[in-house]
Amino acid sequence: MLADTLTRFVAQDYPLDARLAAGAGVPGYAPEKWRALADLGVHGALFDPRDGGYGGAGFDLMVVFEAVGRGLIVEPLLASAVLAGGALAQAADPKTKSGQKEHLAGLVSGEKQATLAHFEANDGWDPTHIETTARKTDGGWVLNGKKSVVRAAESADFLICSARSSGVPGDKDGLSLFLLEMDGPKDGVTLQSSQTIDGGRVSDITLGDVTLPETALIGRAGQAWAPLQSVLGRGVMCLSAEAVGLMDVIRDMTLEYLRTRKQFGQPIGRFQALQHRMATLVLEIEQARAAVINAAAALSGDTTDGIATARALSAAKYTVAEVGTLVAEEAVQMHGGMGMTWEYPLGHYVKRLIMIGHEMGDGDYHLSRYIRLGEAT
């Protein structure tokens, strides 16, 4: 139902041109649409009731992000609500640090926008390969390192930033999370920013002797792996569902094109070679949807089998990478020159679908992870 609301909102109040313009501009999305989405309740649907939301289960994420994909929505719901918000919700200790609880409430309501600064240039998608360090001092912490390609960082009210307070890259122990207020220029924090090819903005964030108070630490030092793993899994879930939403649109556009574009005196959809390729796409999209349903079920179920859940998530991300690339490339090919133009909408959905493979692990990474986790059992 929320998905329908969202789809209607996009169709009626947020035309494609506006979404593209917002994605290509600064801050990479439309703040007034961000607020409108919050008013529709989209943010709240991504949070568990105990965190102030009214959803947050695997199937909730699936439904919302399929709609995000269908709507080519550029607003940073993933970065802010799912990743930063999820990290706060899962890692923060509400008893001792009530300030963090208020930050969380801001993300649930959509009044604030945050992002998770976690991945780094050399990590190769391995979320434990963190080189950024957090050194304990008398009054707090000093952070040094560099975070790569962080979405919606320039516009963030605050960052949730991971750093290593002990251990070496690759260790699960020793990871900590910190809250960096971004209410003004911050000593030692440098952003180098760019738009992206698929809409929205990203930043490399350099942290040079950034001093933080003790209260910036989220949860307990060195214990961030468990919440991070959970939150990143939810992120993978959202991206996979978004991919399926994009594929649904691309399929429908391509079908429509095959039915209406005429060459050699007939609609090109009458040519059997294209028919069979289109049938394959439709078939494979249903396989991708199944992978996402499976992942949502794994996330929604009892979480006693963490490895099975992680494998279901990696299987989904791998599947949408494979199927997504096929769907994107075939759709452009079947559209011919038309599919190559900026003016025709297809290309923008295609770009986003392909670039989902460049967030939180590509197909090869998730296939390898699926294998590795299977060997562990």
Partner: protein, 406 residues
């Protein structure tokens, strides 16, 4: 949709697996596991065992002997049977003819033939394809000319699976040349002991005999063996084919094949290391496993949707149409992919061809590990599954037309 089983469904699963443990002859299961050829008696025996328990025809309406199970229960049952290495139930009577009779047959026909299918009195086979009518099934030429109370049949059917064991065959025959080819087809049940019916074996490329040519020369068939109306057979034929397609998808069998693949890959070594640890082979196996799991969920999703929509379909439930084309394509692709990986995993030991090892009771030595003998043969044999039952190309035509409107 909820993918986890309810407590009731879990209890059902246990019931099925317990029953299988006690009622499926281990020697028979071992034959299935080892890819040995099943005898006619093996197949008939398993048919009787299932019928004894009332579990032979889960997809039939309860009034005719069905189980009244939900689609999910049927799915559980199929998976458990596969896991236990139960033989595949011969589908021609049970899953192909019976749904047509139930939907289009006369009361007399149902009363006569359905019980005989259940108790194994008749072994049915399928007379659809002809030498000139394969993918283009509607171009079939076998003539049935009405003479009084009989049709006189002349012509040839081909690719008739297990026809060598059958005493009955259902045939598509041409009763009229008027109009489009689809319009002059009728659906007839033929006693194969009638004079003029001759079955001749066709050997498949790996040397096995499972399909046949069936020749008809002035074969007299009583008119009461006509199903439905004359010249309306195409409608019944298409209805039957959706059942056949779903059957061929065979997700459960692929699950078993995948387990075998994993065991082979753990046992086979490459330069001293288990093949399962070779990065490229591990990736191939994982791809197949993920694809299979996706297909399994996609199938459940279809069943679940069908169950939601088919509330008052009198227990027949989950009749799927064009979706069965999607199931068939993906299911056969995955099965063939797994078969190819099993073959690849064997390395040089895929080559020895020891047909004696497929025969029941063979316990002699084989070249290579004991799981090796049937693997290459299965790979070549299962190239058929993307061809028979309406080739995957025909399924794509159906999807294009029915689902995509192209």
């Amino acid at each position: 949709m909820d993918l986890s089983l309810s407590p009731d469904e879990r209890a059902f699963q246990t019931e099925v697996s317990d029953w299988l443990r006690h009622n499926l002859d281990p020697a028979l299961a071992d034959k299935v596991r080892r890819g040995q050829r099943l005898t006619k008696a093996d197949m008939e025996g398993w048919h009787r065992t299932l019928n004894g328990r009332g579990w032979l025809a889960p997809h039939w309406p309860k009034e005719y002997g069905g189980t009244g199970w939900s689609p999910i229960q049927r799915h559980i049952f199929e998976e458990e049977c596969c896991r236990a290495y139960a033989p595949r139930v011969v589908p021609f009577g049970l899953s192909m003819l019976a749904p047509v009779l139930i939907k289009y047959g006369s009361e007399a026909q149902k009363k006569t033939w359905l019980p005989r299918i259940l108790d194994g009195s008749d072994w049915w086979c399928q007379g659809y394809s002809e030498p000139g009518a394969g993918s283009d099934l509607a171009s079939l030429k076998m003539r049935a000319v009405r003479e009084g109370d009989h049709y006189i049949l002349n012509g040839q059917k081909t690719w008739t699976t297990l026809g060598q064991y059958a005493n009955m065959i259902f045939c598509l025959v041409r009763t009229s040349n008027e109009g489009k080819p689809q319009q002059g087809i009728s659906f007839l049940m033929v006693d194969m002991t009638t004079p003029g019916v001759e079955v001749r074996p066709i050997l498949l490329l790996e040397g096995t005999h499972e399909v046949n040519d069936v020749f008809f020369t002035d074969v007299r068939v009583p008119v009461e063996n006509l199903v439905g109306e004359e010249n309306k057979g195409w409608t019944y034929a298409k209805y039957l084919l959706t059942y056949e397609r779903t059957n061929i998808a065979g997700i459960g069998f692929s699950m078993v094949a995948l387990e075998e693949l994993k065991q082979i890959a753990a046992d086979q070594h490459r330069a001293g290391r288990p093949l399962a640890q070779d990065p490229l082979f591990a990736a191939r196996m994982a791809r197949a496993e993920i694809a299979l799991n996706n297909a399994r969920i996609a199938n459940l999703h279809i069943l679940w949707n069908a169950a939601q929509g088919a509330g008052n379909d009198s227990g027949n439930g989950a009749s799927v149409g064009v979706e069965s084309s999607m199931l068939k394509i993906k299911g056969t692709e995955i099965r063939q992919q797994i078969d190819a990986l099993k073959r690849q995993a064997l390395g040089a030991y895929a080559a020895p061809f020891q047909p004696e090892a497929f025969e029941p009771g063979y316990n002699g030595p084989t070249l290579g590990p004991d799981y090796a003998a049937p693997v290459a043969r299965q790979y070549f044999n299962n190239r058929k599954i993307s061809i028979f039952g309406g080739s995957n190309e025909i399924q794509k035509n159906i999807i294009s037309k029915m689902m995509l409107g192209l």
